[in-house]
Symmetry: D2
Subunit: 366 residues, 4 copies
Amino acid sequence: MKARQRIILSILLVNLLLAAFAMGQSRREINFPDILGYKTLKCDLHMHTVFSDGSVWPPVRVDEAFREGLDVISITDHIEYQPHKEDVPTNHGRSHELAVSRARERNILLIRGAEFTRETPPGHFNAIFLNDVNSLAVEHLLEGIKIANKQKAFVFWNHPGWKPEHKGWFDFHTTLYENKLMHGIEVVNGGSYYPEAHQWCLEKNLTMMSNSDVHQPLTRLETSPENHRSITLVFARERSIDAVKEALVQGRTTVWFKDQLIGRKKYLDAIFKGAVEIGKPYNKYKDTIWVEIKNSSDVDIDLEKAGKLGPGKLTLPANTTTLLKTGTGAEEEDEAPAQIELSYNARNFLIAPGKGLPVILTIHLN
Amino acid sequence: MKARQRIILSILLVNLLLAAFAMGQSRREINFPDILGYKTLKCDLHMHTVFSDGSVWPPVRVDEAFREGLDVISITDHIEYQPHKEDVPTNHGRSHELAVSRARERNILLIRGAEFTRETPPGHFNAIFLNDVNSLAVEHLLEGIKIANKQKAFVFWNHPGWKPEHKGWFDFHTTLYENKLMHGIEVVNGGSYYPEAHQWCLEKNLTMMSNSDVHQPLTRLETSPENHRSITLVFARERSIDAVKEALVQGRTTVWFKDQLIGRKKYLDAIFKGAVEIGKPYNKYKDTIWVEIKNSSDVDIDLEKAGKLGPGKLTLPANTTTLLKTGTGAEEEDEAPAQIELSYNARNFLIAPGKGLPVILTIHLN
Amino acid sequence: MKARQRIILSILLVNLLLAAFAMGQSRREINFPDILGYKTLKCDLHMHTVFSDGSVWPPVRVDEAFREGLDVISITDHIEYQPHKEDVPTNHGRSHELAVSRARERNILLIRGAEFTRETPPGHFNAIFLNDVNSLAVEHLLEGIKIANKQKAFVFWNHPGWKPEHKGWFDFHTTLYENKLMHGIEVVNGGSYYPEAHQWCLEKNLTMMSNSDVHQPLTRLETSPENHRSITLVFARERSIDAVKEALVQGRTTVWFKDQLIGRKKYLDAIFKGAVEIGKPYNKYKDTIWVEIKNSSDVDIDLEKAGKLGPGKLTLPANTTTLLKTGTGAEEEDEAPAQIELSYNARNFLIAPGKGLPVILTIHLN
Amino acid sequence: MKARQRIILSILLVNLLLAAFAMGQSRREINFPDILGYKTLKCDLHMHTVFSDGSVWPPVRVDEAFREGLDVISITDHIEYQPHKEDVPTNHGRSHELAVSRARERNILLIRGAEFTRETPPGHFNAIFLNDVNSLAVEHLLEGIKIANKQKAFVFWNHPGWKPEHKGWFDFHTTLYENKLMHGIEVVNGGSYYPEAHQWCLEKNLTMMSNSDVHQPLTRLETSPENHRSITLVFARERSIDAVKEALVQGRTTVWFKDQLIGRKKYLDAIFKGAVEIGKPYNKYKDTIWVEIKNSSDVDIDLEKAGKLGPGKLTLPANTTTLLKTGTGAEEEDEAPAQIELSYNARNFLIAPGKGLPVILTIHLN
C-alpha cells in the first residue's frame, strides 16, 4: 500500500518537466562527444516552409530545431517550385529573413540556403552560405550553381537515390565535381540512406551530408535515440557559421541516421573513443571478470565479436552503463595479464557501405 | 510523405534500446554531481522480501536496484514480524545471504540490515552494517538496539510520522539519542515526508535518510526525474560499504524525494553548483541579454526571484538547457558591468522545512 | 530469462501501431457516448493559419484534427489582422478553400468561419457557417456581425476573460444578445476556463463553446484523456454540417476541458449514464459486496460520496474497469435489499461554476 | 503562447489516470469481441511463484493479472523442482491456496494447477483443474498424468520446442494422445512460437494454448497491443471456471502472441468479423471511393491484397479507424455496383503455420 502511494506521488511530478519543455524554453541536448579538438555541432541543412512546398511559417523551423537540440539549420526553399505562389508570391530568400530574429533568440545558427530543383537527372542541389538567393533564379542549372559558387556557397547534391529509375552519377555530376562546383552529397535524406552516395563520398572525397528535408510540421517534442531527425554532425573549431562552413568544406562530418553513424573512419573512431568508457573489473571469479562500460552518446552501439575474448554480441545502449562479463584468457588465475583487449566490430558505425568500425575494448585488470 | 516515412523508420528503432534494458544488462545512471571531493552514491536502505512481509524473492531487490541505477541497498526484513512464516520459516539474515551473489554480479553494494518492529511509539528502527541479524531477536527493543550498536551498526528511526495518532519524539528516543544509539531518522519513507523529522535532524545533528520501504515488486524499468524511488544520496569518499558507513555516521547525506532535494545547506549548495552551468550571453539587445543555463542533474530546479534582475520564476528542468532572457540593470548599453548576479531561491532544495536554498546565478557579460 | 525474451519480443511490435498512426491513415476515436438520440461530434471551431497569425498552411489543421479524432473544425482566421500580409496578401476565406479537399479525403467536416478581431472590450467574435467571408470586412463591428447573421451564421464571443483588465459583459454584448446576434460564448478557450462565461450561458441560454484557438502546429499524435484539445462536444442528429449548425443553435453542447466536462445538467447526466456501466456483485462477504464499474468514456470520473454507502472518494479512470467494495447497509446478510443506491457527486462534471453533477450508482444485488 | 499553455495544462492531468492504475483498483480491459455466442476470456494458465522457481509471492500473480486485464490464471508451480526448498519447504498446491482470497477480491478466476517437470523428452506438462496437487508427486510421469486425469484435469504439453536438441513428438506423446490423457499443447510459451505444435494441434484436434510461463515479477502496468503477455483467448459460455474447462476441453481457444492471433479458422474468422466494422463511403470521386474501417480489437490487423480491388497492403491498427481509398472497378460512375468486395489475406491471423486468414471487406456503395 505504501509502495503504491509512492508510485502515485512520483507520477504527480511528470508535470513539471514536460511543462517546461512544452513552454519551449528548455531543450535536451543531443549527446555526442566533441572530438579531435573540434566541437560536434548538430546540423540539419535542408528543410522547407510555405515559401516553397512546405507547410509551416519559417520561425517554426527554428522552434523545432531548438526543441530537438540542434545547433544549426538552413531553410532551403525551392527556387523553381512554389506551389503556393498564388497565395504566397515567390520571394526567394524571404523564408530565411523571417526566421532570423527567432534564431537569434533561440541560439540557433541559421544559414541562408536554397534548393535548385530541376529534372532528375541530374536532380536537386542545395546551396548554402549564400549572399543572394534571388540571383540563383536563372535559366540553366549549371549557371545557377556557378553563381552560388561565386558567392562561396557550399553546394551539395540532394537525395541522389530519390527516383530509382533515374539514379546514378551522370556527366553533369562529373562536370560539377571536376570544376569543384559540388562539395558534398546527401548520403541520407530523411528516412533514406543511399549506399552509392556513401561510396562516392569516400572515393571522391566529398562531404557526407544527412538532412531531414522536412516539409510538414514535426510532431516530436524532443530528439531521442529512438526517434530523431536525420542530421549531420559537423566537427567545427567553434560554434559559429564560419566554422561550420570551414568544417563542411574540409569534409569534417558524420551522418546520424536512425541507429547508425555513417562517416569517415577517423571521425567514427574518435566518437567511439569519446563516448565509451570502460571501468575497472568490479568482480572476479577464477578466470572471469565483470566490468562496467558506459556509453555516454545518443547512439546505441551494436558490437559483434571479432576476436577470442568476450561475448559474441554486445549492445551498449545510449546513455547507459552496460555490464560485461568476460573470460580473461588466462589459464591460471595468477597468470592474468595486466590488461586484456577485446576485438569487436561496431556494426552500426559504418565506415563504408556494409562495413562496421573495428574497435578494441581495453580492460585494465589491476 | 517523405517526412512521414522518416517518422516511421525512426520508430522502428525503439526496439534496441528498450530491449537492452529489458535484458537487464544495462542501466541508466542517476545524474547527480559528485561534490566536495566525495562520490555521490544512490542508496535505498529499507526494503522487504518474502522473509518478512514483502512479496519478492531477495535477488529481485538487487535486479530492481540495478535497473533503476542505484549503488547501494540494504534488505531490512522485520525481526519481529514474519506473516509468511508458516511457509517461509523465520530465518533472520537469510534474505541478505540469498541476494549476495546477485549483488556481486550486478555491482550493487549490499549492506546487511534488519528492521526492529515494535509498537508505535516508539516505532520501528533499522539497523544496518550488522554482523549477526539473529542476535537482535531479543525481548526488549532497547536491548536489541544496544546489541546492534555493539556490532557497530548504523541505527535509524523509520517513518516517524507513520501513525499520526502516535507520532512525536518520546522518552525512548531521547534515551537512544543521548546514548548515541540512534544515528539517523527517515525524513522520507516512500511517498511520505516528515517535516518534524527534518527539523529534528537539523537540531540534533542526526543523519537524514530517505528510503523506499518497498514491499511489492517495483514496476518501473528505470528511474527518471518524474518517477523515481525515494532514496538517500550519500557522499562517500569511495564506492565501498565502508565509505558508505563512514558517510552515514558523519551525516553526509541528502534526500531525493519526488521533485525535491532535502538536506543540509552545504550539500544542497554543492549539488546546485555542480549541476548548474551558466553560459556566456549569446544574444544582446540594448540592456537585455540571453544566456543558456544547463542543469545536468536529475532534478528539475524550481527558482523564484529573490533580487532585482531576472524573471520572476525560472524552472531548470533536469538534464536540459534552459534559455534565460534578462535585463542587465544597466541604463546605458555601454555601462554594462563585467558580470551580473541574479538572486534566486531554489524552492525545491529544502534546507529546512518550508525553506528553499538561496542561490546566485552569476552571468559574465564579457 | 524466458520472461525477458518475451518482453523484448513484445517490444518489437511497438512499431506497427505507431507507424500506422505516423502514416496518417489511422486515428484513435475519442470516446464519448452518443446521447439522447443524438450523435456526439467532437468539434474545434476556432483556429488559425498563415492567412492570419497562425503558423501553418491550412490543410495542416485538417491533418491534426484527423489524427486527434475530431469530427468537425472551422478555420477562423482574423478578418482585421494579417501580420503576414506582406508575404501572404489578405484573402479572407482563402484558408478555408485551401483545406476543403483535404477535409473531404479525411472525412472531417469543415465549416467556413472567421474571427472578428476588434478592441477589447467588446472583444473578439467568431462567425461560422458563412457564405462569404469577405463581406465581413466592414468598418463597424456591429455591422459585420449583422452581415454574418444575415448569412445565418452562428456567432459566438471568444475568450471573454482573455484580458482581465477589460473583462465583463458590456452594453455591446447586451445589444448583440437582445437582438439575437450572438448565440454562444467560449466558456473555454485553449487552456483557460471562464466561470463568468459559464454562468452567462446558463442564465441567458447561450450555447457553451470550447475551442483550441491554436496558432502553432500541434505536436500531439493522438488525443488522450491526459492530453487533449479543448473541444466542444456537439449533440447532432447526424454527422453533417447542417446538423452541427442545428445543434449549436439549440445549445446542444458540452465542453471537454482538461479533466472536466462542463455543460447543462441534462447532457452531463446523459453522458454519465451512457459512459458508466455497473456490473453484478462478483464477491460478497457478510454485508460487504464487490462490483465492477466500467467507464467507457475518455474522461476520468471523479466521484465524492454524498450519501451513506460507498467509499468517500472514487475515481473511475477513462476506458477502464474499476473495482468497488462497499457495505450494503444491511445489518443481517439475509436482509440485503434487492438493490442499493450510492449517492455521489461527479465533481468534474460541472453543471454550474464550482458545482458537480449529482449521480446515483445503482447496484443490483441479486 | 496560448497554445503552449494549453499543452502544459493538459499535461497536468496525466496524474489522475496513472494514479488510479497505480492504486491497483482499476484496469484497462483487453479488447477482443465475444464470438459465436461465447464470452472471450483472457487466460494465462502457466506461471510460477517462490513455491517453485519463481520469484514472487503468490498473490502478486493475481495483482499482475488484474492490472493487465486478464480473466483467468493458473499458478502452476513445478512438482519436481523447488530450488528454494531450503527456505520454502515443498508444499504442493500451497501457492494456489495463498492466492485464493486475492483472486476473489480482484474478480480473477483462479484455477488450481501444477507442472510436471521431467526430462526432455518427453518434457513438461501442465495439469489444471486439479483437486489435489500433492497426489501428483509420484515416481513415474505417466502415472502422475493418469492421476491428474482421474481428477478430470485438463493436461497440456508445455513449450514443446524448448530444447531444440530434444524436440519432436515421441512415443510418450502418442501414448498420452491415444489414451486421451493429453488435451492441448502450448503453441506459444512466453516469447516462443512452435509451428510444429501448431500443426499437431490442427492434425490431432488438440487445444491450442499460449501462456506466459512467467517466473520474475512483471514490470508492465497494463497490457497493450504493443506489449502484452502471451495469453490464450478462451471462448466460454460464461465467465466461470467450469465454463473455461468446458471450452478448453472442446478446443475453443485462440492464441494471442505478439502481433498475431493463432487459431482455428472459424474462431479467427469470427474475431475478424466481430472486430472490423466498415462504414459507408464518405467521399466519392469518379470511380474512387473513401470509407472508414474500424478495428475495435487489441490486435493490429495486417492485410495483403488477394483480389483485384483495394490497396496492396492495408494495416488496421488496434482500436482505431483507418481510411481506405479504393477504386470500385466500375468503368462508368453510374455503373457502380450496389456493393464491392475486397479480397484480402489477414497475414497475422494464422490459421496454419505460415498461412493467413482469407477475408472479404464488403463495402456497400449506396
